[in-house]
């Protein structure tokens, strides 16, 4: 066609002339035009293998059906996705795929999200003509977190390509030949790379199973919450799957700007702290539990009101786990009391970059950029030092500490400095040096219980959503996890701070996270024009915020 732009290819899909950029495969181009083709071995993040043959289509270029995931489109190509020949070819492939596949869907953890199940329903025969004995392949551990049910394997090699291309570790291979071929590890080398969990996600059948999730719940019972992983500053997009209020597993969510289709095992298996018995679940005055959370929040409000107007010396120590909204509320408390705000960072880890350009940040906190954007670029730098020396010099009337880090305690020096203040309030997940020094201890919400926004290390603003009320689980399924959340409902800092502000009289009423964000967007130039509703599922880059690397010097 004359109006074809440079690099555009005109081809015919199911009789309709269409155009697609040159170099696309038939499968991708057809998908872009709304024709979904079944596929096992094809994965958008991996190289093309073309070995499962379920994506066969009829073309005008060859008498045999073409493998649509590896054939590229070209001018004049005519593709029939649902012609008799194509459908028959796919049905034949499907029947062969199912020949040795066991009928163990009832005990298979993939059931419900299994592509083999779906395609068998769409394309497969309703009964098997195979009367011979199905062959048996191995069922064994491939690594500390992964198990293989060889019988279920259809040898699509997605997992092998993942280990070769994305993690670059290459632990997996196909062993044996013909219908006995199955995925295995090399002797003595288990699959234990930090991205190993992804092979379970990409396995189109139930062959690779995560031991963490094995038999924990059926996938169709899970509720899905699209949120962001709180493990590091990378801010991988994840889906938290919960059942009866319990987190069952974390699954990566596609976001080609952040994490592609992957996530690391630290994040994937790093949710158990949320259901830890030792979590601070009840507010306390010293060692004595406060009857209701409302009462504790009134205590906090009373302390803040006593210091309102700058009459007293107030210090606030923030952590990088606060959402932007919570940081904004901290800023309002600080502005009202004339407090000095400093922050502390958890110890940084190793930054890992994989051949597939997937990156694990060394900064083990999700929202340092966001807190900096709200409370000032130096909040974890020079201001932190200022707060510490202020506390050490004594005479501080009120200190409010946020310690929402799941795994680490604060630096001892800072903890002892906090202990010198007259009145001490600590928001914390676990008891530690912070809470021992505090005379009002309030439970922190974990990442899974927060509503708000995080800014990742690239300055990308992303939504964090809470799963349903965590405590509901306690009544529903006793004994499922050894540790269950003991409080019926952990109120996040967002609520506590707003109640304190209402108590002081600085706010008329408590708002939702979206409402607080609106205030933030009105008052902060970085967030100008943003709103919760306006943030797409994959996040939005914030204008004026430094991408990774800038501002490193301020780290203490």
């Amino acid at each position: 066609m004359s109006d074809s732009g440079a690099g555009m290819v005109s081809w015919v899909l199911n009789g309709d002339p269409v155009e697609s950029p040159a170099g696309m495969t038939i499968l991708e181009a057809a998908k872009a035009h709304g024709a979904e083709l079944p596929h096992f071995c094809y994965h958008p993040g991996l190289s093309i293998a073309g070995n499962c043959r379920i994506c066969l289509v009829e073309t005008n270029r060859s008498p045999k059906p073409a493998i649509s995931c590896s054939e590229r489109i070209s001018d004049g190509l005519e593709v029939q996705t649902h012609s008799e020949k194509a459908v028959e070819a796919r049905e034949g492939v499907m029947e062969f795929q199912l020949i040795n596949h066991p009928l163990d869907c009832p005990v298979c953890d993939k059931a419900g999200e299994c592509t083999l199940q779906d395609y068998s329903f769409d394309h497969g025969p309703d009964e098997s003509r195979f009367v011979e004995k199905k062959n048996i392949r191995h069922t064994k551990d491939l690594g500390p977190t992964i198990k293989i049910w060889g019988n279920r394997c259809i040898v699509c090699t997605r997992c092998i390509r993942f280990c070769d291309e994305i993690s670059g570790t290459g632990e997996l291979c196909v062993v044996a030949r013909g219908d006995r071929s199955v995925v295995d590890v090399f002797p003595g080398i288990p699959i234990d790379n930090p991205l190993a969990g992804n092979v379970v996600d990409i396995c189109p059948v139930g062959a690779l199973i995560s031991k963490d999730f094995m038999f924990q719940s059926r996938v169709w019972n899970n509720e899905h919450t699209e949120t962001v992983c709180g493990g590091c500053a990378r801010g991988c997009n994840v889906t938290v799957e919960t059942n009866e209020g319990f987190v069952k597993r974390l699954m990566p969510r596609e976001n080609t700007d952040v994490n592609d289709w992957w996530m690391c095992d630290f994040g994937r298996y790093g949710w158990r702290y949320a259901h830890d018995d030792r979590r601070v679940s009840v507010p306390r005055r010293g060692a004595e539990a406060v009857e209701t959370e409302l009462e504790a929040h009134r205590d906090l409000g009373e302390l803040v009101r006593g210091a309102w107007g700058g009459s007293k010396k107030v210090a606030i120590v923030v952590d990088p786990f606060l959402t932007c909204e919570e940081a904004h509320l901290v800023g309002r408390v600080a502005a009202g009391t004339g407090a000095t705000v400093g922050g502390w960072l958890p110890p940084s880890g190793d930054e890992l970059t994989f051949p597939g350009k997937f990156k694990i940040s060394g900064e083990k906190c999700p929202n340092r950029r966001g807190v900096e954007a709200v409370l000032g670029q130096e909040v974890f730098g020079s201001q932190a030092k200022a707060v510490e020396s202020m506390l050490n010099s004594g005479g501080v009337d009120l200190v409010i500490v946020f310690a929402g880090f799941p795994n680490a305690d604060c630096p001892d020096a800072l903890a002892s400095a906090v202990g010198k203040a007259t009145a001490r309030v600590a928001f914390t997940l676990f008891d530690g040096a912070w809470s021992e020094a505090a005379d009002l201890v309030l439970p922190s919400a974990s990442v899974f219980e927060k509503e708000g926004t995080y800014v990742n290390e690239d300055g990308r603003l992303q939504r964090v959503r809470s799963k349903d009320r965590p405590g509901d689980a306690q009544l529903a399924q006793p004994g499922l996890h050894s540790a269950s959340i003991s409080s019926p409902w952990v109120t996040s800092e967002l609520v506590a701070l707003q109640r304190a502000l209402v108590h002081v009289g600085d706010a008329e009423r408590s708002l939702s996270a979206a409402g607080v964000f609106r205030q933030l967007a009105d008052s902060n130039e970085h967030f100008k024009g943003q709103s919760h509703r306006g943030i797409p599922a994959t996040g939005v880059p914030l204008g004026g915020l430094a991408p990774a690397g800038v501002g490193e010097g301020s780290e203490s």
């Binding site: 869907c105 009832p106 059931a111 094995m214 038999f215 059926r218 169709w220 019972n221 004994g479």
Partner: protein
């Protein structure tokens, strides 16, 4: 609107007349009908605890978990019954089975008999014929908790 061929001709109520409007004939008719039932003396009630009716085939009473020939529960904890249950009365927690020929088994299998509506869909859904409804229907208890049957109770039913 055109003629609707399917519309039935409108049935006109017959003229009632003054007596009919006073309902008296209809009332007398009704009274005679009920009197007929008294006179007929044909009672459908059974004197229940003394006389018992044999359950009809396919009667849906309390559940039973079946055992295989080795005495183990047949259930593989596939959650099909709890998924299909319209009353959400089946609670299952799965665990790894200790047997070589089986991968999964229920660690907890509770049925809340007070919530169950005895529809029998669990029996239909079960791929292993592991759950079935018995003809037992008359087990009274003193507390609600006793009516939540656990795995052992269901296996012995």
């Amino acid at each position: 609107m055109g003629h609707d061929a399917h519309a039935e001709p409108e049935k006109k109520p017959g003229k009632l007349g003054l007596l009919g409007k006073a309902y008296l004939p209809a009332i007398a008719q009704g009274l005679l009908h009920t009197l007929g039932h008294i006179v007929k003396w044909d009672h459908n009630t059974l004197n229940y605890p003394d006389e018992k009716r044999a359950p009809f085939p396919g009667y849906r009473g309390e559940h039973r978990l079946t055992r295989d020939e080795q005495g183990r529960e047949k259930c593989v904890a596939c959650f099909m019954c709890s998924t299909v249950c319209p009353a959400h009365c089946i609670e299952i927690v799965a665990e790894e089975a200790p047997w070589p020929d089986r991968e999964k088994r229920p660690k907890i299998f509770n049925i809340d008999m007070m919530r169950c509506i005895y529809c029998g869909m669990c029996e239909w859904a079960c791929p292993c014929e592991a759950i079935e409804l018995t003809e037992v229907f008359n087990i009274p208890v003193r507390t609600r908790a006793e009516k939540i049957y656990d795995k052992e109770r269901l296996l012995s039913n």
